[in-house]
Symmetry: C2
Subunit: 234 residues, 2 copies
C-alpha cells in the first residue's frame, strides 16, 4: 500500500485542471450512459475524481449544470449556409436535429423541458441560433418577417413533436419491441380499442427518418399552399 495522504476511495484517474468544458462533457457522458437522474453532484464529482463541491466553480447549481448539458448538445448542430432552396434547407436542418436527438435520447427531456422555465430572450445563444438561422433563411427567400416567424413556429413545433413521438416509439431491441407491443396491445379492452389492436403489425415497424420526411412533406406542401406567396410569387 502506497502512502498517499488518505486512501483514495474509488479511482481518481487524473488531476488535470478542471474547466467548464470538461465538466459539461463528463456530465453529458453520464446522462447519455445512465439518464438524467444519474447526474448528481456527488456522482459527477466521483467521475471526475474531484470533490463534489468543486463543481460549483463551473455551474451555479445542479439546474445550471443541466442547462449546460442541453447547451452542449445543441452545439452539436451543424451550421448549414447553403444556397439550395429553403424547403430542402429546412429538411436538412430537421434531419440534423433528429440525428442529434437520437444520439442523446436521454437529453431530449431536458431539451424540450428546460426552456419552459426560461423566457425566450434569456435563453443560451446556442438555443436561439437555429431560430435566427431559419428566420434569416425565410426572409431572404422573400417571406415577410412576421410570416417567417409563423413558419418557424409551425416548423419547429412539428419538429419537436416528431422527435418526442419517435423517441416514444423507439425501443432498444426491435425483437423485444414487437413482443412487448403485442403483449401491451393484447391487454387493451377489445371493444374500446379495436383500431389500435388491429394495427399491431403496422405499429411495430416504424422508420423515424421516413416518418419525419413524410411529415415535412405534408407541412411544406401545406406551407406552400397557405402562404407561399412571399410578397409576390415568382
Amino acid at each position: 500500500m502506497t502512502s498517499t495522504k488518505h486512501a483514495p476511495k474509488a479511482a481518481p484517474p487524473r488531476k488535470a485542471r478542471l474547466s467548464r468544458e470538461v465538466v459539461l462533457a463528463a456530465a453529458l457522458e453520464l446522462v447519455d450512459a445512465e439518464g438524467v437522474d444519474a447526474l448528481t453532484m456527488r456522482r459527477l464529482g466521483q467521475e471526475l475524481g474531484r470533490d463534489p463541491m468543486s463543481l460549483y466553480r463551473y455551474a451555479a447549481n445542479r439546474a445550471a449544470l443541466l442547462d449546460g448539458v442541453t447547451e452542449t448538445v445543441l452545439e452539436e448542430l451543424t451550421v448549414f449556409a447553403d444556397d439550395v432552396d429553403w424547403q430542402s434547407q429546412l429538411r436538412r436542418m430537421a434531419h440534423d436535429l433528429r440525428r442529434v436527438a437520437l444520439r442523446h435520447p436521454n437529453v431530449v427531456p431536458l431539451l424540450v423541458t428546460r426552456p419552459l422555465s426560461t423566457p425566450l430572450g434569456l435563453r443560451p445563444l446556442a438555443a436561439l441560433r437555429p431560430l435566427e438561422q431559419i428566420l434569416d433563411l425565410l426572409i431572404k427567400e422573400g417571406f415577410a418577417p412576421a410570416d417567417a416567424l409563423h413558419v418557424y413556429r409551425a416548423y419547429y413545433g412539428f419538429l419537436y413533436g416528431h422527435i418526442l413521438n419517435e423517441l416514444q416509439e423507439y425501443i432498444v431491441d426491435p425483437d423485444e419491441n414487437e413482443a412487448i407491443l403485442r403483449l401491451g396491445l393484447h391487454r387493451l379492452p377489445a371493444n374500446e380499442f379495436p383500431r389500435l389492436r388491429a394495427l399491431g403489425p403496422v405499429l411495430a415497424d416504424y422508420n423515424g427518418e421516413t416518418e419525419l420526411d413524410q411529415g415535412l412533406s405534408i407541412l411544406l406542401s401545406g406551407l406552400a399552399a397557405q402562404l407561399a406567396r412571399p410578397h409576390q410569387n415568382p
Copy 2:
C-alpha cells in the same frame, strides 16, 4: 381546546378514508399550484393530513404518482363523437388538448416526458384513447389504416410541439413580458442575431389560439394535398 390524541402539527383537516382518486387530485392540485418539484411524498402527506408512508398504498412510488397525475389530466379531455367532417374534428380535439395544457402548465413537462419511459403498449388507457379515437375517425373517413397512423403521427407531433412552443412563449405578466423580451433581445450580439432583434415587437404579442389554428390549417391543407385520396391513389 379539545383533547385529541396528540397535538395536531399543522392542520389535518379531516380524517376521511383516502383513495387513489383523492390522492391524485391532491397531487395535481399541488403540482398546479407550485410545480412538479413541490410534489414530494412528505409534502403531499402533510397536505392530506396523513403520514407520507400512507401514500404508498395508492402509488407504488413517486414516479408512479407522477404518472397518475398526468393520467388524471388526460382524463379531462372531452370525448367528441360528432358527425362533422374529420378536419374540424381534428381541430376541435387540438384546441381541447391545448386548453387542458394551459389549465395545467406545470403538468406539461410530465405529459411530454413520462411516456418516454413507457413503451406504447403499456401506457395508461387515458393516454391511448385519443390515438384510438383519431384512428377510428380517419379510418371511417376512408383512410387506409396505415395512412391513418401516419396522419395521426404528423398531427399529434405538431400538436405537442405547438403546446411546448406556446408554453415557452407564455409569460404570466404581459407587461413584464415585453420588458423582459426587450431586455433579453438587447443582450444578443447584433451582428449574429439581426433578424431576431428586429422582430422584437412581433415576438411580443403572441396569440396561441390563432397560432395553433393557423398551424393546423397548414398541416391539414398539406394533408389534403399529400394523401387525401383515401384508399387507392389515382
